[in-house]
C-alpha cells in the first residue's frame, strides 16, 4: 500500500466538504421552489476509490476551482412521499448534513493545524 500524504488527503476532503456545503446551500435556498430536486455529492469513499490520493493542482501557479469539478453532484432519490409541487427537499435532512459538514471541516482544519505545528516544532529544534 502506498504511503498517503496527510495534507493532500485533508485538502481533498476539504474540497469535497465545500462542494457538499454548496449543494446543501442550494437545497435549502430552493426548499420552496416547485419542481426542484434535492442534490448531494457522491460519498467521499467513492472519490478516494476512484482516484489515488495525489495533488490535483500539479502545476505551480495553476490555481482556481478546477479540482472541484472532480466531484459529481447528482440529484438525490426522493425518499418517502413526494409533494404535489415535486419539490424533494427535506429541511431537517439538509440541516443535519450541514451539521455533519461543519464537524468534519473543524476536524479537518484541526488535524492539519496540529500536524503543521508538529512539523515546524520538529524542524526548528
Amino acid at each position: 500500500m502506498e504511503p498517503v500524504n496527510l495534507f493532500d488527503l485533508a485538502t481533498r476532503q476539504s474540497q469535497w466538504l465545500s462542494v457538499r456545503q454548496s449543494s446543501v446551500a442550494g437545497n435549502i435556498a430552493n426548499a420552496n421552489t416547485p419542481g426542484y430536486t434535492a442534490t448531494d455529492v457522491e460519498p467521499f469513499e467513492k472519490v478516494l476509490d476512484r482516484t489515488a490520493v495525489r495533488l490535483s493542482a500539479t502545476q505551480s501557479g495553476h490555481l482556481g476551482g478546477a479540482t472541484e469539478a472532480a466531484f459529481t453532484v447528482k440529484p438525490q432519490e426522493p425518499t418517502g412521499p413526494v409533494m404535489p409541487s415535486k419539490n424533494t427537499v427535506v429541511m431537517e435532512n439538509e440541516l443535519m448534513k450541514a451539521g455533519e459538514i461543519r464537524r468534519a471541516f473543524e476536524l479537518n482544519t484541526a488535524v492539519v493545524k496540529a500536524f503543521h505545528t508538529m512539523l515546524m516544532t520538529t524542524v526548528k529544534s
Binding site: E2, T11, S14
Partner: protein, 108 residues
C-alpha cells in the same frame, strides 16, 4: 507518512504518489519528474530548487488571492507548504554550516 521530512532520495522517486516521499514537498507543488541524484551535492541542489519553487508557488497563489477570486484552501495549502519547506531548508542549512565549522576546527 507526512510530507517526508529529511528523506533525501538519491534514487528516482517516481512512485504513484508523487508527494509522499519527496524532500520538502509538504503541500507544495508536485514534482513533474525526479531525476536520479548521483551525488549528495546534487541531491541538496534539487532540494533547494524544490524549496524555491514551493516558495514561488506560494507567492503566486497569494498574489492571485489578493487580486481576485481564488480557492481559499489552495492558497492556505501553498503558504503552509512554503512555511514547511522554508523551515526545513533553514534547518538543513544550519546543520551543514555547523558540520562544516566542526570539520574546520578539527586539528590535523
Amino acid at each position: 507518512m507526512i510530507g517526508g521530512i529529511g528523506a533525501v532520495h538519491l534514487k528516482s522517486a517516481n512512485s504513484g504518489s508523487e508527494t509522499s516521499t519527496d524532500l520538502l514537498t509538504g503541500t507544495g507543488a508536485a514534482p513533474t519528474g525526479t531525476q536520479v541524484a548521483s551525488t549528495f551535492a546534487e541531491a541538496l541542489n534539487q532540494a533547494a530548487t524544490k524549496t524555491v519553487n514551493t516558495l514561488q508557488h506560494a507567492e503566486q497563489a497569494s498574489i492571485q488571492a489578493l487580486k481576485g477570486d481564488v480557492d481559499t484552501r489552495q492558497v492556505v495549502d501553498a503558504v503552509m507548504g512554503a512555511q514547511q519547506a522554508l523551515q526545513t531548508t533553514i534547518a538543513i542549512r544550519d546543520k551543514i554550516v555547523s558540520a562544516y565549522l566542526e570539520v574546520s576546527r578539527m586539528s590535523i
